[in-house]
């Protein structure tokens, strides 16, 4: 798919193309569009925290109502739309068929339909901002009873129409539509992996990123069920007068928490796995070294996948669950750190004694590993230890923890993948200077945001607060300064992403055409076809003779052996 031809027949392609690469691009653009708002929301609410009385262009003066809506939707969009949209839907669509050496997904029409559901979910989400509540403001976790009511605004919530045409209902419908989209996509990815591999490609010769995306999709499919049921019940509570979560009616708010987090926890691994998969591809190519422990990684990920279905209540240690049950969840949560540690160690072993090339994608990948492991993964131990979580729960410490797990995996790893594969799918090069500038600014200012947040959490700062200046214990010492540093860093972090957006769009149309179809000298199948791959991906469908990471084989001349090349 060449961006230069995009102007010709753009709308025709938008509506009718069943090519997985076009669909992957549609997911990418749609996701970037909605994530743009999520990023702006973060900037706005952080500006409000540091400078409460400032009137922000287009948003006005932010009060607690606006603050809650901004924080809630920032979280919803980033977790549910950006992360899965980029790492599962877009990356899966771009990469899976080409890396498997086949023409397209198993079900191209289902693929297209899944995009339409995704797009409608985004439109319904946007519509939620035009309802009387101006957007849902009860936290991305949607806990009832707050999410069932109208937050005490006394808006027109009395009639059925008032409740149906509310931000509450629309946000839930948007989530439901998106889940349908991802379920369809997951089925497609899974069947494609099993049925449409190139001849000679056994399951253990499939590139790791494909495995990771498929395992993530399967994990999503198996964990989302209870939440679909729960969402259905929440919609009924809002619109039909039922009382599933209403304690005064025999219901239980904790039921939602369980149903939500039963999905919510595996969800973070649904996001993590493709990110790790991208790292596997970028690291092997840039270390000129085969992936250390391919089989081990698969086993560890499958173990982690099973464990991930058993740890959900670590989000509820102080929520009123039986403390003895909490102990079980604490144990399992601590244990789940082990398989992931094993995967990271495999990556580190791949780097060890390698012929490392410090390209731009590699910088992103290494930063992802360092930040995720040290500041994300290890702080998961703090929070998984239920005793410490009593103090840290719902403080900024948690916010810092999940930003250090999500941003390295979604942003850093996503960017590693983007800078790695851009030339393959567009046929052009990204500007390297801008790429490096983007990297360093993101790295520095992400940490400028995250580290103060850990310290603020340890000082006892609760999260989701529209302001802290009226609270003496949080306004003394260096705490206001920490908040200001976090805010300024967050602003620069968000603005730095526009460098990337500019680079992307400019290079897509005017970038220098790439001179080689395999500039990274990589072994996987996507690099053995044109840039961009033609419709159908290959002139002649490849036959595979060995594993996906044959770098520096002693019996070859070059330092890499493509998967479809005989010895």
């Amino acid at each position: 798919m060449s961006m230069a031809h995009v102007k010709k027949g753009f709308w025709h392609r938008f509506f009718f193309s069943l090519d997985h690469k076009d669909i992957g691009l549609q997911y990418l653009i749609t996701t970037m569009f909605i994530a743009f708002f999520a990023g702006i929301f973060a900037m706005v609410f952080r500006i409000h925290l540091a400078y409460p009385d400032v009137s922000i262009p287009l948003f006005g003066t932010i009060g607690p109502k606006e603050y809650n809506i901004l924080v809630t939707n920032h979280g919803l969009i980033m977790v549910l739309w950006l992360s899965m949209g980029v790492l599962l839907a877009s990356a899966g669509n771009f990469l899976i068929p080409v890396m498997l050496g086949t023409d397209d997904m198993a079900f191209p029409k289902l693929n297209k339909l899944s995009y339409w559901f995704f797009l409608s979910s985004v439109l319904v989400l946007i519509a939620s901002f035009f309802m009387p509540q101006k957007g849902f403001g009860g936290g991305w976790t949607l806990y009832p009873p707050l999410s069932v009511g109208d937050f005490g605004y006394n808006t027109a919530y009395k009639s059925f129409a008032g409740r149906f045409f509310s931000s509450n209902t629309f946000v839930l419908l948007a989530v439901a539509l998106e889940f349908v989209s991802l379920l369809m996509g997951g089925i497609n990815f899974m069947v494609t992996l099993f049925n449409k591999r190139a001849k000679g490609m056994g399951l253990l010769q499939v590139p790791m990123v494909v495995w990771m995306i498929v395992i993530a999709s399967v994990l999503f499919m198996f964990s989302v069920g209870p939440l679909v049921a729960g969402t259905f019940m929440l919609l009924l509570d809002i619109n039909a007068g039922t009382g599933f979560y209403d304690a005064s009616r025999g219901g239980d708010p904790l039921l939602w928490e369980h149903l939500f987090w039963f999905f919510g926890h595996p969800e973070v691994y649904v996001i993590l796995l493709p990110g790790l998969g991208i790292l596997a591809e970028v690291i092997t190519t840039n270390a000129r070294k085969t992936l250390f422990g391919y089989n081990l990684i698969l086993v560890l990920v499958l173990i982690a996948m099973v464990l991930s279905l058993m740890v959900w209540a670590h989000h509820q240690f102080v929520a009123g669950i039986d403390p003895r049950a909490a102990t079980v969840f604490s144990i399992l949560t601590i244990i789940i750190s082990l398989p992931f540690a094993g995967v990271i160690l495999s990556f580190l072993a791949t780097l060890w004694k390698s012929n490392l090339r410090l390209t731009l994608p590699m910088k992103w990948a290494l930063a992802a590993i360092v930040l995720f492991t040290i500041l994300g993964g290890f702080t998961g131990l703090h929070l998984g230890a239920a005793l410490f979580d009593v103090y840290a729960h719902d403080t900024s410490f948690v916010v810092a923890h999940f930003h250090y797990t999500l941003i390295p995996v979604v942003l850093f790893s996503g960017m590693a993948g983007f800078y790695h594969w851009f030339n393959k799918f567009s046929g052009r090069e990204l500007n390297r200077f801008l790429g490096n500038l983007h990297f360093w600014l993101t790295f520095i200012f992400f940490n400028g945001f995250g580290i103060p947040l850990f310290l603020l959490g340890l000082a006892g700062q609760p999260r989701r607060y529209a302001g802290y200046d009226h609270i003496p214990y949080l306004s003394e010492g260096h705490l206001p300064l920490l908040r200001e540093i976090a805010t300024i860093s967050a602003i620069i972090l968000v603005l730095s992403q526009f460098i990337f957006v500019f680079n992307f769009i400019w290079s897509a149309f005017k970038g220098k055409k790439i001179s080689s179809t395999n500039p990274w000298e990589s072994t996987t199948l996507e690099w053995q076809t044109d840039s961009p791959p033609p419709h159908g991906n290959f002139e002649v469908y490849p036959v595979v003779y060995h594993g996906p990471y044959e770098y520096n084989r002693p019996d070859t001349e070059k330092d890499y052996l493509p998967q479809n090349q005989k010895l």
Partner: protein, 202 residues
């Protein structure tokens, strides 16, 4: 392995559409599983839960169970006909299956009508006014679970209808009977779980 599906550029043996359908079924089980777990948790929490089940129409429920089981048998016969590529027989058995679906929905409609007249609705405002919270929760779950199941019956019947129509028009895609049949069996199995829980537990 007696299978009708064809893979295009695939050198593997798992038939494509069947694999997709199994995956969908697994996902559906988890959704209904969530509702069933909710139901069971509430049942364990409230001793009076089972009393409401006495107001369900066990005879209607039993007939419906029999109807769905029979319809599954009809789908198996349709699959048999599909293996032989006998379009006439396929249509016969599928129409019988759809008839069963309609009977099921009709009986359900009858049950719902009576239950609504007795004041048992999705939110049961009359019961609520009397402070009967456990009872209203039971009926909320009843309508949610059977309603969602009913929607799946409709979806399954529609799927079978369109698959049958496509086969009779084009004379190909016989494997789709098996795939749609799998979905129908899932709908049946879910009912087998719902029936004792909702109708028989007191």
């Amino acid at each position: 392995m007696n299978t009708l599906s064809i893979s295009k550029i695939a050198w593997n043996r798992i038939p494509q559409a069947r694999l997709a359908m199994w995956t969908l079924i697994a996902g559906e089980f988890v959704i209904f599983g969530g509702l069933i777990v909710t139901y069971l948790l509430n049942r364990m929490k409230y001793p009076g839960w089972g009393e409401m089940a006495m107001h369900t129409n066990v005879i209607a429920g039993t007939i419906n169970t029999f109807v769905l089981l029979t319809s599954s048998f009809f789908v198996v016969k349709a699959h048999e006909a599909a293996l032989k590529k006998n379009i006439g027989k396929i249509k016969f058995w599928i129409w019988l299956t759809i008839l069963c679906a309609l009977i099921f929905l009709g009986i359900k409609a009858y049950e719902y009508t009576h239950e609504i007249h007795a004041g048992f609705t999705l939110s049961s405002p009359a019961l609520l006014a009397q402070g009967k919270h456990v009872e209203t929760l039971y009926w909320s779950l009843y309508y949610t679970m059977t309603g969602l199941h009913g929607l799946h019956v409709v979806a399954g019947a529609l799927a079978l209808f369109f698959v049958m129509r496509n086969i009779s028009k084009t004379g190909t895609h016989f494997h789709r009977i098996e795939v749609a049949g799998l979905y129908w069996h899932m709908v049946d199995i879910i009912w087998i779980f719902l029936f004792p829980l909702i109708y028989l537990i007191h």
